[in-house]
């Protein structure tokens, strides 16, 4: 009788702890929304310089420098290569769902896709626009974990539609401030294609923006691109910056 009572109490305690633990778990869809809000600058413009170092065992190391202008509130961005010399003046302009690539040599604009690779790097065009994880993905699984010395939530996400580049993601999110530390990008066949690492952040206008991002190509050994963001400014940009004419003017 006594043994039975102790057993029942233990079971009740385990269940009770489980319920409490579940109750303490956040709404992960809201977490994604907070991540988006932190990464997007809805009311202000942002500009900066990105230094991209691409490492490839077959091709060696190459360095590119890109100037970026963003107006997330209107879903616009402009990116212009400033280095190397062979790519200087090439640019990407996004306005709503349209993305154009400009080639200063031919002086022509061509349609590009947000899902395509950015330049010759392991980053995608979609990596530089507005973040929309909450709209584009649903959380299918979650667990606790650690990455380095940080306690994290590990979320598995599935794309809500076919408009995103990667149908499946796995995210490592810092528990205390919901900073993204790592994302694994998976194909439709759930094969790991790319890993994004966010080793450091800067605080700009009360937003956390990654100061350094590492994109690792998981299909090709030894291939990765490291992006360092510098000279970030939140000064208002003229509307003319997000136009084709601006790209052409910059190249004159």
């Amino acid at each position: 009788m006594k043994r039975k009572t102790i057993l029942i109490v233990i079971i009740i305690l385990i269940v009770f702890n489980g319920v409490i633990a579940a109750a303490q778990e956040p709404d992960f869809q809201q977490v994604l929304k907070q991540i988006d809000e932190s990464r997007n600058f809805e009311d202000i413009d942002i500009s900066g310089t990105m230094i991209m170092i691409k490492e490839d065992l077959a091709e060696g190391t190459s360095i590119k420098s890109v100037t970026q202008f963003r107006r997330d509130g209107e879903d616009k961005f402009l990116m212009v290569f400033t280095e190397p010399a062979v790519q200087k003046g090439q640019g990407y302009l996004r306005v709503d769902d349209n993305l154009w690539f400009y080639d200063p040599e031919s002086r022509k604009f061509s349609h590009s896709s947000i899902k395509e690779k950015f330049g010759d790097t392991d980053a995608n065009n979609s990596d530089f626009g507005r973040s929309s994880y909450a709209d584009d993905y649903t959380v299918t699984n979650s667990q606790d974990g650690t990455i380095g010395k940080y306690d994290v939530y590990i979320l598995e996400l599935e794309a809500a539609g076919d408009q995103v580049t990667y149908p499946f993601l796995k995210m490592w999110i810092k528990k205390d401030n919901y900073l993204l530390l790592k994302i694994e990008n998976y194909s439709l066949t759930k094969r790991l294609i790319r890993t994004e690492l966010f080793p450091s952040y800067s605080i700009i206008a009360n937003h956390y923006i990654p100061a350094r991002i590492i994109y690792i190509d998981e299909l090709t050994e030894g291939k990765q691109t490291q992006v360092t963001v510098k000279n970030v400014s939140v000064e208002r940009l003229p509307d003319s910056v997000f136009t084709k004419a601006y790209l052409e003017r910059v190249n004159r």
């Binding site: 539609g161 076919d162 995103v164 149908p167 194909s187």
Partner: protein
């Protein structure tokens, strides 16, 4: 008349060296134009045959529809509609094959390379299977859904061997990233810049990776009974399709699409349109929009090259003709001066002016026809010799060759026309000195000393 002909023959054989020289000049002009004409005709034929083998057909139809997400998607769900059009308009074809095509990146260890991935139904596509130029491996495992056949140069670039697995990254029809794993079963020869360098895989698995149904596809390839009727059939099918569905306007794909969305700008991938892009408001359509390409569209660069070659040949021919005409004219002037006394004698014994004129013209005609015939014979011998030269099948002009060799297609009508033109011009060149000779005063001619 017979006497005049005999006199003309005798005069020609009297000055053999001069006759041979004149005839050789004419023959040379005929050789140049004949060889070029026959070469270009043979090259066009080679290109048509090779492209037919590579692309598995003469007329290609692809389809694009708008998904719920407003994205354009390249897919044909069902081709019954197309068969109806072919039957209704009485198009004679041998067979229709279905293909899917993707732009992929092949990964192996630390290397990667971009390549077009061509999905075929190997049960259906005996033509393609038979025409793959396998240089390593074999097709015994062709029914393995994950088998892949790649160009040898790609295998060398990736440092991959037969039997090893490679990863292929591509985008689904809606532009999402996907990855498949394939086993290399065979290597093929590279097709060269006018050809299509593709990796060949099983269409069912490729469709899976593209995220379309296993029975769906992206391109319908129609193999006609008669290759010479490609344009006519294409026009009829286009009209038939247009009467029943939306069809893109037929255009020269060399001029079109500066948008950069054309997958790799590769000729083979110009068969299908763009996919995975958001359709702009106002540009939407219902159902499937079709796009028709014919083999002639795809060999347009070859045709452009042929046009240039023909133009060069014609220019050289015209220059040679002008030079030859000047030579003939001068030669006959000299002949006239040499034979002044003879002409005087003939006129004195009763030969009429017209007969003297005819005599000279006949000489010119015999020289030009003999020279032309010699030129034709020499051209044929040159072409036979040239057709023995072999080129490596991976060479820059491999798609323009017939089994690695040049092909010359005899054009009898063109040859005949060239002989007529040349003979006529020779007659014109000889006419003026001949007329002068005919108009000589017999008494004056008999007194003249040269």
């Amino acid at each position: 008349m017979i006497n005049i002909i005999k006199i003309a023959f005798r005069n020609i054989s009297r000055q053999k060296k001069r006759t041979i020289l004149l005839g050789s000049a004419i023959a040379f002009g005929i050789i140049v134009i004949t060889v070029i004409n026959c070469f270009t005709a043979g090259t066009i034929l080679n290109a048509r045959e090779n492209f037919t083998r590579t692309f598995g057909g003469h007329i290609f139809i692809s389809g694009t529809e708008i998904a719920e997400s407003k994205m354009a998607v390249n897919v044909i769900r069902n081709d019954d509609f197309l068969k109806e059009v072919l039957e209704e308009y009485g198009i004679r074809y041998r067979f229709i094959t279905k293909r899917s095509v993707a732009k992929g990146v092949l990964h192996f260890s630390s290397k990667s390379t971009a390549l077009t991935i061509d999905g075929l139904d190997w049960n259906q596509n005996n033509l393609a299977r038979g025409n793959l130029n396998i240089i390593e491996g074999n097709l015994s495992d062709i029914q393995d859904p994950k088998a892949i056949i790649i160009p040898k140069t790609v295998a060398e670039e990736l440092n991959v061997q037969i039997g090893e697995q490679i990863i292929v990254r591509l985008s689904t029809v809606t532009g999402q990233e996907n990855v498949g794993v394939f086993k290399v079963i065979a290597l093929i020869e590279k097709a060269g810049p006018f050809g299509s360098d593709s990796a060949f895989v099983n269409i069912q698995y490729l469709n899976e990776l593209l995220n379309i149904g296993t029975d769906e596809f992206q391109v319908s390839c129609i193999y006609l009974e008669d290759m010479s009727e490609i344009e006519k059939a294409a026009d009829i099918i286009y009209t038939g399709l247009k009467s029943k569905a939306m069809v893109d306007s037929r255009q020269d794909f060399l001029e079109s699409d500066s948008s950069g969305n054309n997958p790799g700008g590769h000729m083979g991938s110009q068969i299908i349109g763009d996919s995975g892009y958001m359709v702009e408001k106002g540009s939407e359509w219902d159902g499937t929009k079709y796009r028709l390409t014919s083999l002639n569209n795809m060999i347009a660069p070859v045709k452009a090259l042929i046009t240039i070659l023909n133009a060069i040949g014609l220019t050289v021919f015209v220059i040679l003709i002008v030079i030859t005409m000047v030579g003939i004219s001068n030669t006959f002037r000299m002949i006239m001066l040499e034979r002044v006394k003879e002409i005087g004698t003939l006129r004195a014994i009763g030969m009429q002016k017209n007969s003297v004129l005819l005599n000279f013209l006949l000489e010119a005609l015999f020289i030009s026809i003999t020279g032309a015939i010699a030129g034709i014979i020499a051209s044929i011998l040159i072409m036979i010799a040239a057709s023995f030269i072999t080129f490596s099948s991976g060479s820059i002009i491999s798609m323009l060759l017939h089994e690695g060799r040049l092909r010359f297609q005899l054009e009898p009508v063109l040859m005949f026309i060239n002989i007529i033109i040349l003979s006529s011009l020779s007659l014109i060149a000889a006419y003026f000195p001949a007329r002068k000779a005919a108009n000589l005063d017999p008494a004056q001619a008999l007194r003249t000393q040269y």
